[in-house]
Amino acid sequence: MNEIPEVIRTIPLNYYLFLSTALFVIGVTGVLLRRNAIIIFMCIELMLNAVNLLLAAFASYRSDPNGQVFVFFIMAVAAAEVCVGLAIIVMIYRNLQSTDVHLLNKLKW
């Protein structure tokens, strides 16, 4: 299995690093700027996927399966988080008819 890294190294690791950092930053920006809870949530998922990409890249560069296993776990956890998150958003929508986080001011920030 040692050939895999050789082939993969045709694309420098930094490219992956920059790509995932960019994705991550987009996610962070989205979380900080957007108002809609669902979109914030999607931005968080984007962050997680940036991490996944990074981990997968590192893992294949080192031909070390640990990184990929980690990705699996991140995906599973993200799924659980999505489930809970969507449930919460639906719950709020039922009470509020909106998913705009700024309407949620019963508690002051």
């Binding site: 690791l13 690093l17 995932s20 991550f24 996610g27 962070v28 979380v31 809870a37 914030i40 949530f41 968080i44 962050m47 997680l48 940036a50 991490v51 990074l54 981990l55 590192f58 080192r62 070390d64 640990n66 990184g67 296993v69 980690f70 776990f73 991140i74 956890v77 659980a80 988080e81 809970v84 998150g85 449930a87 919460i88 958003i89 719950m91 709020i92 009470n95 509020l96 986080v101 949620l104 019963k106 508690l107 002051k108 920030w109």
Partner: protein, 459 residues
Amino acid sequence: MTSIILLSVFGIINLFLGFLKSNRILMPAVVVFLAIVFGVNFIDWNQGPQTHFNNMLVIDNFSVAFAAVMVLSMLLILPFSRSYVTDENPHLAEFYSLLLFSLVGAIMMVSYENMLMLFLGIEILSIAMYVLAGSHKKQLRSNEAALKYLLMGSFATGILLFGIALIYGASGTFNISDIASFSSTQPAGLLPMMEVGVLMILIGVCFKIGAAPFHFWTPDVYEGTPTIFTAYMSTVVKTAGIAAFYKLVWSVFPGLNEFWYPTLVAITVLTLVIGNVGAAVQNSFKRMLAYSSIAHAGYLLIALTSFNDRSENAILFYALAYTVATVAAFGVLKLVSDQRGEEGYEAFNGLGKTNPLLAFSMTVAMCSLASIPLTGGFFAKFFIFGAAIDAGAVWLVVVAILMSAVSIYYYFRVVIAMYMRDAEGERIAVDPFAAFMLIVLSIFTILMGVAPGLFNNLL
């Protein structure tokens, strides 16, 4: 290890117990479960470090002790959930099970040997808490708390994960001892990635434990969450977070000490100031407790910054004392707010007359939190300061002390309300379980205050 498996199994069993016709059996069942786990947990005591699951978890005295503290916290909190135990409550079994599951996560957080387990532990704990934060489905406050907790929590997770990924990229491993040996050798070319990774992990964990400047979600979430789960959050979650943090900085990145130490100190000071000053300006007792939990995170962080053979013990003792006092405070708050319908300081007016027991245990709890002698909180802070002074961080302790003085202001506001203001409300009905538990908590607090040797230097 056994405790993790047992807790998971019990959690599942408990879920299925929920299908029985009556909810009455649930609380006793959970108490029995927890008692068993608490006992079994000590099998691993003094057995030396044992690794499990392909080196993913390591069970040593550190993890056993913290696991015991956390299981105990939940045991202590349980009796106050009696008002939930009705047959009309269709989700009671789920609440209890989520608590049990989250305990699994908490134990994983204190015994991880691999970054994967840290991440999983945090998430198992957090996801359960997201649900519990929103467990009052019809209440907008609770909904909002759940959403904020969720968004901030997963945001923090994202940051933490990015940090872990970078560290993995730099060191090629998730195993903490490998990372430690890697970071102490420090190959020059990879350092920036490592540093950014460490920084992001720090930020992520600070988010999770609610350390300033990443604390802003904490008061809202704590206030909106149903009181019983707030108690859980501010005890178990905080303990687990701090213990994990401790392990992180001292087992994973000791080699990068010089790099993160200033950051951590800055965070500590900021946390102390914001927590205490924030608590002082609150008008809601519950919100004050939320800020106070930030403040206590700050005190615990002091122990983190001052690494020596004392800090482990100091953290353990502090966690125990803080837990006991906080549970009592939240317990009384729950009883009061359930029946008087408010969570402000005014709700406690005249409690000293109508309910001497509640007022007394609240006073003991407040004294403990304010670290007045005769209570566990005093020795807790004493050990923490001791560790810090031993490490030479006197000025940090001075900041902490200034802030402690501030803390007395807000902790004693409720004492004043209870004893020095006239009664407004009726006598509050207290069920025997809760009363018994309050007495136990008070005795425990005072016991820790007069005989701290019993709980000191366990590790």
